[in-house]
């Protein structure tokens, strides 16, 4: 009677462990986002992270390796404007300026 229950619990345990290990081994890199002084840009979003554009030292986010897209928010919608590669154990710097109302980016590194 208890055996299926135990087997089920063990299965869930293994699944959780596997998920944790996947997370642990995930290759990550870093994205540094800096708004060039003097420019005012709309709220920026990278994946699930909102970026504090007012921080003078910029924002550093850990991201999964691969292609990342920086977007800005306008009228509740996300508008992608910058695509770049995130490499393992490396940092890529995104300098954000603006042309008119729309942000522009320059990828360094």
């Amino acid at each position: 009677m208890m055996r299926p229950l135990l087997a089920g619990a063990a299965g869930v345990g293994v699944a959780v462990l596997a998920l944790a290990l996947t997370h642990w081994r995930e290759d990550t890199g870093y994205v540094e986002i800096k708004v060039v002084p003097g420019f005012v840009v709309p709220p920026l979003v990278l994946g699930s992270a909102r970026i504090d554009t007012t921080k003078s030292e910029g924002t550093v986010l850990r991201e999964r390796v691969g292609t990342a897209t920086l977007a800005y928010e306008r009228f509740g919608e996300r508008v992608p404007f910058c695509e770049f590669a995130v490499r393992k154990n490396r940092i890529v710097t995104i300098a954000v300026t603006a042309f008119g109302r729309d942000p522009r980016c320059k990828v360094q590194g």
């Binding site: 997370h23 890199g29 870093y30 030292e57 910029g58 986010l61 154990n89 490396r90």
Partner: protein, 225 residues
Amino acid sequence: MSMRLSVVLSRTRSAIRWPAALVLLLLVAVAPRPAFAEAADKPDAVTPVEEFSRQLDELKKTFKDLNQRIDASAKLIDGETDPAASRQEIAELRELVSSLLGAVADNGAVAQLGAKALDHARAKQKALAADTRYTPEQRAFLLGQWERLARETEAATKELDDARTRFAGVLRLLQTNDDYVGELMEIRQGTEALRVVRDLAKQIHDASDMLNNFINTITPPRPGT
């Protein structure tokens, strides 16, 4: 290159006495949510602040070992002449600095915990200010304690900002150096390829001479020569 690296690394070491650990990274990878959930379940507990403080202590404790590792690697790179070995050392250092940066990144566990602890402390101050259960003296005491906690937590999160900026700088420097060493390796490989091509050309030239001599030996002499 390596001198500059050493200078930056030593500056980083002297300025930052605390960041990350593998233990912490394990916490980051495996169980950040339960900690947050626990904090959310007990709104009156000091848990977020305590948890943040505990993680910061872990960072400080383990940074000493990592610091020595960085120091040893930097010295190795200084004395190393083999680009491949230098590159390997830089890659290992990059991995190390990357794990440190991961702990203090804006979306890293410690930074998020810091923000949560600060929010909690401010929320407590606000709630206590409006709470009529306590005597004015008691309220003043509690408010003072939370004020102190909020101030100290804020200072600690500023330290995190500083660490983040510095680690990002070191990681950037390491990857620039890595790229430079990579270029050196390509030059060395190019030089090796050039040597092979030269050897080959010489061998072809020698074979051509031999062939020429052979042809001369089998060609019958022309009359009058």
